[in-house]
Point group: C2
Chain length 324, copies 2
């Protein structure tokens, strides 16, 4: 591992350990917030210390009363340039919280605003074990192992080394399905996504960043449990749904949604974690690692959709083109 | 006030007071969950005790580690018949939590499952002060006043008596705008909603229950802060948005979204709480009461949309017609 990465992680974990820990906040915007979602889920299941997740601007303006000394705020911005997230780091730091921020860009505004910045790799030469999710999971399981030492957490940290191999093999395994998806749905103006538990963030990210932002396709990330309490009434033979089925404790929610949608929509696509290759991940950790693999698999679904629609994922009409 | 309502509220508040309070959970499905949203927001701003909000089935399957003795779980189901919510009450009660459940139906499954059931009125003869939100706010500010006594909370409880008058006057004031909305958008297949802070639940409810469930119109409740981190790229001259602008601390998020959407969509509808009549609500409480009035105003928007489309809000294709 990159020695600076090791130092940055150790410093952050040590800071969490030495604070009089009261609560965790996960704070970011859009896709970065969605990436933090499984970390929040894991904390919720593993420890009694409360944690919550916010979009950066909501966090700053809402000003949660419990934010202060003893709070640990974990932030992320790929460019480190997201003004709301840099502001959230400043705001939390002023309140006395421990601030830990992930970014690909050293010395970016977020990097400077947070007390404990952590760099992650990105791009063709990067490997997943030190990419955004790899570094996030190192922090999360590192913190867990520090405050509630457990062999499971050590195993989780070890599993991170397998991520790149898993990304590669699962992308390869799902290429044909992704291409089929792109071909079949290239004319669609709307595609719903659905997930639950640790994978809800992946659905949110696919909806907000890949479909709406990059492909200009209308969408809504429907929580698989909430589906039956309103949204399911839009289901019809010609309404496309992309359902992510997870493993473990919340899978029954995905199963129930699946059983229903398949009866009434002829345009259902299922990405089922049961079909993933998860070699090297312990049975009791598979559920937690699912969103990472699902994220990579779904990115390929978006790539193929872009290919068939002829609308590259890099095209924007507002972002990078104006102030807002 | 109905004496049974008073007793039910007092019993619940006393139970919260006498527990060794650790955390609050708000748990329900769909529209009932959305109705609890502002209560969660108020707790987040007013007290350090952590609170979180879950869809019932996610709550049961996720099994948050911090749930147990010292937890207070506040649930809601209008009919009391929502199986996931009744199950969530049972589950939480077994874990040792104080369970408080709102329902319109005495002796319903949820009523029996919770330790402290609270009835609310509903229908043409009901008045808002003892309706679902009236009773919820009595509980919320009653709890706040018990654990952090404050004149503001007493004033809030007093304000609840004004709700019916405010509902009536604001419905009357916005009738023409609602009718215009119904007329103008009756052919739309998709309408986005947007809000932040205490009003996000109102947007969620309008999207999930009124547009998707009752009118079969595609939608997504976009958080006004998240809008700029993906979703805004779908904005175009012919894409309809319904933006709820709140008062108070998160209004800047709504303002920013407003400034952007109005430039690029010719189909923007704004429901601005600044235009509401809020007589009898103290200045520093207006933000908290906004979602209640916005909910009633927006219901009228849906009524008028139903009128002009000829699709009554009572029509379903799946609900009440099959098992799922």
């Amino acid at each position: 591992m990159n020695q600076e990465h090791v130092t940055q992680l150790n410093d952050a974990i040590r800071a969490v350990k030495s604070t009089d820990l009261k609560n965790f906040y996960f704070v970011a915007c859009g896709g970065s917030m969605a990436n933090l979602y499984p970390a929040h889920y894991i904390f919720d299941r593993e420890i009694e210390t409360p944690s919550a997740i916010y979009s950066s601007n909501e966090f700053v303006h809402r000003e949660p009363k419990a934010l202060g000394k003893g709070s640990v705020v974990i932030l992320c911005s790929h460019s480190g340039n997201t003004p709301e997230t840099a502001k959230a780091a400043e705001f939390a730091r002023k309140k006395g919280a421990v601030t830990i921020a992930f970014s690909n860009v050293v010395d970016s505004p977020l990097w400077k605003a947070a007390e404990f910045p952590i760099h992650y790799d990105y791009g063709v030469e990067a490997t997943a074990k030190e990419g955004n999710s790899g570094m996030l999971y190192r922090l999360i399981f590192g913190i867990l192992n520090e405050i509630a030492a457990n062999e499971k957490y050590e195993k989780a940290i070890g599993s991170i080394d397998n991520l790149q191999k898993l990304y590669d093999v699962n992308k390869e395994m799902t290429f044909d399905a992704a291409d089929e998806f792109g071909k079949k749905y290239k004319r669609e103006k709307l595609i719903y996504t659905m997930a639950s538990g640790p994978n809800y963030g992946v659905a949110y990210s696919f909806t907000s960043c890949l479909l709406m932002e990059m492909l200009w396709i209308n969408s809504n990330a429907i929580h698989a449990g909430e589906y039956f309490h309103g949204p399911f009434e839009v289901t019809d033979f010609d309404v496309p749904f992309l359902l992510i089925k997870g493993l473990g404790e919340t899978r029954p929610l995905d199963e129930r949604a699946h059983d229903f949608v398949k009866k009434f929509s002829e345009k259902l696509t299922v990405v089922d974690a049961k079909d993933f290759n998860m070699d090297g991940i312990d049975e009791d950790l598979k559920s937690y690692f699912t969103p990472l693999i699902a994220g990579v698999v779904l990115r390929q679904y978006a790539d193929r959709l872009a290919e068939h629609t002829g609308h590259p994922l890099s095209v924007r009409r507002y972002m990078w083109k104006m102030e807002y």
